[in-house]
């Protein structure tokens, strides 16, 4: 009796409609896309509100063919890369100073905690006054925003290293430098990677905001331009590219994780 009752819902799940079984998790997004296209074709969704998926696709192809998208994407990518490199380097350096020495902690950590309370976006007027409306402000905003996630995670990772491992390593005569190299840094690497992932997504968000500031190139420039001409197809293309940037960033960190954290049991067991 119970066996029958248990197997019943499972049979139901299996006999779910054929397209859902074939497409799996792609099913509902595709249906939405289909409805959207249908809505646009029948005039239910006006083009100035939202362009049809087919129009977006067309705009994408045209923008790639004309080189408009690649060149502007490159500009945005450059901003993120430079801002992130500065932010991540500073975050790692500050976390090492604060994590590895008591006086470093006293000096650095209070400043970082104060910095955390200031919303980065609110700083943009000040940055514009300081650095103008050129590239420097955009890069500085990204750098400033990405320092903290890396700092906080690495710092707490260093502080959370199992003291018993440090004890053991000391008993085998490791010097302070060797201790940092063989024990403290590898132990806090997982935390650093978590911070890195946060920083990457923050960087994309700040990129979007920073590019609203008088950009003459880049994805933000494309979007602003498209807004002026009410080209919703181009706006949607740019949104897609932003989404892809975020996905790509996540994918990079995950790839690094699988390699660098190969010793972790969850990953070990999968092999």
């Amino acid at each position: 009796m119970t066996a029958y009752a248990e197997s019943a819902p499972r049979r139901h799940a299996i006999s779910f409609t054929l397209p859902a079984r074939l497409l799996g998790r792609w099913f509902s997004p595709l249906v939405l896309l289909l409805l959207w296209e249908l809505g646009s074709r029948t005039g239910l969704i006006p083009e100035r509100t939202l362009a049809a998926p087919s129009a977006v696709l067309g705009a994408l192809v045209a923008m790639i063919a004309s080189g408009e998208l690649p060149s502007n994407l490159l500009v945005s990518f450059g901003r993120v890369s430079i801002g992130l490199s500065i932010g991540i380097s500073a975050g790692i350096a500050l976390a090492l100073v604060a994590g590895l020495s008591r006086s470093g902690e006293i000096t650095v950590d209070p400043l970082m905690q104060i910095k955390r309370t200031i919303p980065v976006v609110a700083l943009s007027p000040l940055f514009i006054v300081w650095f103008g409306i050129g590239e420097t402000t955009k890069i500085a905003l990204i750098a400033f925003a990405t320092v903290f996630p890396v700092y906080l995670n690495l710092y707490s990772g260093i502080r959370a290293v199992d003291p018993r491992l440090i004890d053991a390593a000391r008993s085998f005569g490791l010097s302070r430098i060797e201790l940092i190299q063989h024990v403290i840094l590898p132990a806090s690497l997982p935390s650093l990677l978590v911070g890195l992932r946060f920083s990457l997504s923050v960087a994309i968000i700040v990129l979007v905001i920073a590019e609203q500031i008088n950009a003459s190139a880049g994805l933000g420039y494309l979007i602003n331009n498209a807004r002026d001409f009410m080209r919703t197809d181009i706006i949607v293309v740019c949104l897609m590219v932003y989404a892809l940037l975020g996905l790509g960033a996540d994918w990079i960190v995950r790839a690094v994780e699988t390699r660098a954290l190969a010793w972790r049991p969850s990953i070990v067991e999968q092999n």
């Binding site: 018993r164 491992l165 004890d167 053991a168 390593a169 000391r170 008993s171 085998f172 005569g173 490791l174 060797e178 063989h182 024990v183 590898p186 132990a187 690497l189 954290l261 190969a262 010793w263 972790r264 049991p265 070990v268």
Partner: protein, 260 residues
């Protein structure tokens, strides 16, 4: 006490400079006296078991001998080549097994040395394994290899078998004894387990409130200790606060009982 020792050891000239010597060693944390005027000598190649309840000062003593705590100008001499095996193996999970064994070694033939040590503990096939994939017994054998590869004159074992199942523990006892016979380090085994102490040691010390309250030398061969186990066991348990009538058995010499 000196007289007794001279008499009982018969040939004091046989004892060269001790591997470990503590004179009137005291350790305090704040107003807490953990170790209180302790005298301890361990001869080279001697196997000592240190029994004691929790909080008796065992760990503090071990940390002192391992050089993990500062001794602050007290009369403590320990060999420079020493190694510790902890209760939890304390392997670095991000280093492969052989790199854990080789941790902190200098020189060109590090991998060969680590490999040799791992073969000796029967883990020649797990050189490139990740520590988190090892069983408890395997991890503890890696920890033994990591200690051995340093060719210690003093091997400190901090309840290394406490977390293992009974069968693995027996196998580990045999392994430790065979390694000890092959390399002859002085060994200090810290343990809760009276039977383990009796099975392995030349001399059993009981530590209580930072003092050595009992000392038993076991002269019977290691394979031949089943007979004396009960009486000695009861006596040692008595010192640990588990009340039983102490019995003196053949093959056991009571040296310094209750010097309070």
């Amino acid at each position: 006490m000196d007289v007794a020792r001279g008499f009982l050891l018969a040939k004091p000239a046989e004892l060269p400079t001790p591997a470990v010597r503590l004179r009137n060693f005291t350790r305090r944390f704040g107003s807490n006296t953990i170790i209180d005027g302790l005298d301890l000598e361990i001869a080279p190649g001697e196997f000592i078991a240190l029994l004691g309840r929790s909080g008796s000062g065992k760990t503090t003593l071990l940390r002192t001998l391992a050089g993990m705590d500062e001794v602050r100008g007290q009369d403590v001499s320990v060999p420079s080549a020493r190694a510790v095996v902890f209760q939890d193996a304390r392997l670095l999970p991000w280093k492969k097994v052989w790199r854990n064994v080789a941790l902190g070694l200098k020189g060109g033939t590090i991998r060969e040395r680590a490999e040799r040590a791992l073969r000796e503990v029967g883990l020649g096939h797990r050189l490139d394994a990740w520590p988190l994939t090892l069983s408890g017994g395997e991890a503890q054998r890696v920890a033994l290899a990591r200690a051995l590869v340093r060719e210690p004159q003093l091997l400190l074992l901090d309840e290394p078998f406490a977390a293992l199942d009974a069968l693995t523990r027996i196998r580990m006892h045999d392994l430790v004894l065979s390694l000890w016979r092959a390399h002859r380090p002085a060994v200090l085994l810290v343990t809760h387990d009276v039977d383990e102490a009796i099975a392995l040691a030349d001399r059993v010390l009981v530590l209580d409130s930072g003092r050595i309250v009992a000392e038993e030398r076991i002269t019977a061969e290691r394979g031949d200790r089943a007979g004396l186990a009960r009486g000695l066991r009861d006596a040692l348990l008595g010192h640990l606060g588990v009340e039983r009538a102490p019995v003196v058995e053949e093959g056991v010499v009571h040296l310094a009982l209750a010097r309070a």
